[in-house]
């Protein structure tokens, strides 16, 4: 692990606003190994999505930068595939065509037509969506659409998979199901993943490392927590595992004691000027999913659950 796979160095992000620049991020440093699963967690408006968008190349850091495998990241590209919160499938294309659009674009030259077809089907089967190839996104549930979104991202064979609250809009059961699938897939492919989440349990269950961010403005990395739970992980078995409980407690303590939610700060200005990089998910101030009892998944505060 001499050289990091992905490295963010001294990143500052300022947005121009009518009232002067708004510093969203300051001195963000992050090194990620190949195959590592990293979760970004923090209060709303702390710039998690901004970090992700900088890695994706959708935003340019005003200072510092992001280096992937020795190359500086300036523009978006398929080697840093993004899974958006609201699946972002083209509603006019079928499930198959949505993945095809990505595969066509990335492997037009390196794969034959038949190979591409196999690769599309392979990825859709990987997320258990092989049965709905000809359905439009409007005809399948939110959870299914998100699976397709993940398949599309995986089909680009990305070096880093970026996930912006991928399961935030799903109901608890679907979410658990998709988390398990993601864990399996990530272990099989050994992909590097950066995931933004509001869900403490999700972060502990899935991650090798949890990166906790301080409150904005000028947010930065507050603490990092290495999760050394053995894999494969089983959510039921882990529920009263002492280490698991300890990790959970550590994250909660950071979020609610050290970085307790900014009392009446003017609602985090949703990154003005960043029209392409919407951080709408962070608009609904401070909705952390905290599951009270280890066994019963009672949500204290959950983002609006909507399952199409």
């Amino acid at each position: 692990m001499s050289k990091p796979h992905l490295e963010l160095t001294n990143v500052q992000m300022a947005f121009d606003t009518p009232t002067g620049p708004f510093i969203a991020l300051e001195n963000v440093d992050l090194k990620i190994r190949k195959g590592e699963f990293v979760s970004l967690i923090g209060h709303s408006g702390c710039g998690k999505s901004t970090v992700l968008n900088i890695v994706a190349g959708l935003l340019q850091a005003t200072r510092g930068g992001c280096v992937l495998d020795g190359h500086e990241v300036n523009t978006p590209g398929p080697e840093r595939a993004v899974v958006f919160q609201n699946h972002s499938l083209m509603p006019w294309l079928t499930v198959y065509e949505n993945v095809e659009l990505a595969v066509q674009q990335v492997f037009r030259k390196s794969m034959s037509k038949a190979e591409r077809r196999d690769w599309i089907l392979h990825n859709l089967n990987l997320v258990n969506m092989g049965h709905a190839l000809d359905k439009r996104p409007g005809e399948i549930s939110g959870g299914m659409a998100q699976r397709v979104g993940i398949a599309r991202a995986l089909a680009m064979k990305p070096s880093v998979l970026l996930m912006d609250e991928p399961f935030g809009a799903l109901d608890a059961l679907t979410r658990a199901h998709l988390q398990d699938s993601l864990m399996e897939i990530q272990q099989d492919l050994n992909s590097t993943v950066i995931m933004i989440t509001h869900d403490v349990d999700e972060a502990v269950l899935l991650s090798d490392r949890i990166v906790m961010m301080t409150n904005g403005p000028a947010a930065t990395v507050g603490e990092e927590l290495h999760i050394k739970l053995p894999r494969p992980r089983n959510r039921v078995a882990l529920a009263d595992h002492p280490e698991y409980v300890h990790y959970r407690q550590a994250v909660l303590s950071f979020l609610y004691e050290k970085q307790s939610f900014p009392a009446k700060q003017t609602p985090p200005r949703t990154e003005p000027g960043a029209d392409s990089a919407t951080e709408e998910a962070d608009g609904d101030a401070g909705t952390f999913t905290v599951h009270a009892a280890p066994s019963g998944r009672t949500a204290l505060a959950q983002p609006a659950e909507e399952n199409a």
Partner: protein
């Protein structure tokens, strides 16, 4: 087994017919009937009330050409116009056969002789005028679409271009066809000079006027639709590094198709309205000229005949909109 099948074969169509009948009768349940009745009944009542009002009110309006025509006179005149049309067709057919016979005779006497083939010189009938109008409006509408959709896409994609063009759109959009027409006429006669013109000048004048007036809704709707593509989808396009053309073809266009079609339907409606006015003023063949000629003619039947034209114009406009709706349902993903 075979005998069994054979004996039952003849009755199979019968069984199918029974099945079909049952399916039909299932659909004709009381509730379905009621809703169908409501769907048909209320519009029918509306139309009947209108006809009744028209019938009673029309004779009260005295004009210099006699009383305003009621539904009965208009119906009579529409029959009359149809009759004139078929008479005209018969005469034209006779003219053509006579001409052919004569030419054959001439050629039989002298194979070297040059024969002339003339078109039937009769005046265009009401139906001919409708066909002409439809041709002109479709040509003008097509031209408007070909201009407005690509331009709208560029405006929608480029904020700077949009800002530059927007005032022009806002100023030209409300201009009446009547204001454009003299200018278009002059420009067409000055620039379209040819010994063997492919199009009539009058056709070009009306068509261009239609285009100028009808391209705005499509232009505006296209640009708004293109500018309103979901930002997440734009990000997907960026991550995939789609080329400009692929981006437009695979993301921007499909996304804005519903808006574009809304614009196209408004445009077609405007095109049809503008065309009638343009034809009237430009004296170019078509329904507008028919109305104008009848007005100038001033016979006792003129008003009824104009009224037939009015109804025909309305009905055709309605049909055009329906056709656009059908096309939209074929093309748009959200229908």
């Amino acid at each position: 087994m075979t005998t069994f099948n054979q004996t039952h074969n003849p009755s199979r169509p019968l069984a199918q017919a029974q099945q079909w009948l049952r399916a039909v009768s299932d659909k004709l349940t009381a509730r379905n009937l009621a809703s169908t009745a409501r769907q048909l009944l209320l519009p029918a009542i509306g139309i009947l009330l209108f006809l009744g009002f028209w019938h009673l009110a029309a004779p009260q309006v005295e004009t210099s050409l006699g009383a305003f025509p009621g539904p009965a006179q208009v119906l009579e005149q529409s029959g009359q116009l149809w009759q004139e049309h078929s008479d005209q067709r018969d005469r034209a057919a006779k003219f053509v056969t006579m001409q052919e016979q004569r030419n054959e005779r001439i050629l039989a006497e002298n194979p070297e002789a040059e024969v002339k083939i003339r078109d039937y010189p009769g005046a265009p009938t009401f139906l001919d005028q409708i066909v002409t109008s439809l041709g002109t409006v479709l040509a003008g509408f097509m031209l408007a679409t070909v201009i407005a959709v690509p331009l709208g896409i560029i405006i929608g994609l480029n904020r700077h271009f949009s800002a530059a063009v927007n005032p022009l759109i806002q100023i030209f959009k409300p201009v009446s066809p009547l204001a454009w027409l003299p200018l278009v006429t002059m420009v067409v006669s000055a620039t379209y000079v040819s010994d063997d013109p492919m199009f009539e000048k009058s056709f070009l004048t009306s068509m261009i006027t239609v285009t100028l007036c009808s391209l705005w809704p499509t232009l505006i709707n296209t640009s708004v639709g293109v500018a309103a593509v979901n930002p997440d989808l734009l990000n997907v396009s960026k991550v995939l590094q789609l080329s400009f053309w692929t981006h437009v073809r695979k993301v921007v266009l499909p996304s804005s198709i519903p808006m574009i079609f809304t614009g196209l339907r408004v445009s077609l409606g405007i095109a049809w309205m503008v065309l009638i006015a343009a034809e009237m003023l430009a004296q170019s063949p078509g329904l507008g000229k028919f109305v104008w000629d009848e007005f100038q003619n001033g016979s006792s039947q003129s008003l009824s005949r104009i009224m037939v034209a009015v109804l025909a114009i309305g009905f055709i406009g309605f049909l055009l909109d329906r056709i656009m709706l059908l096309v939209q349902k074929k093309v748009a993903w959200n229908e």
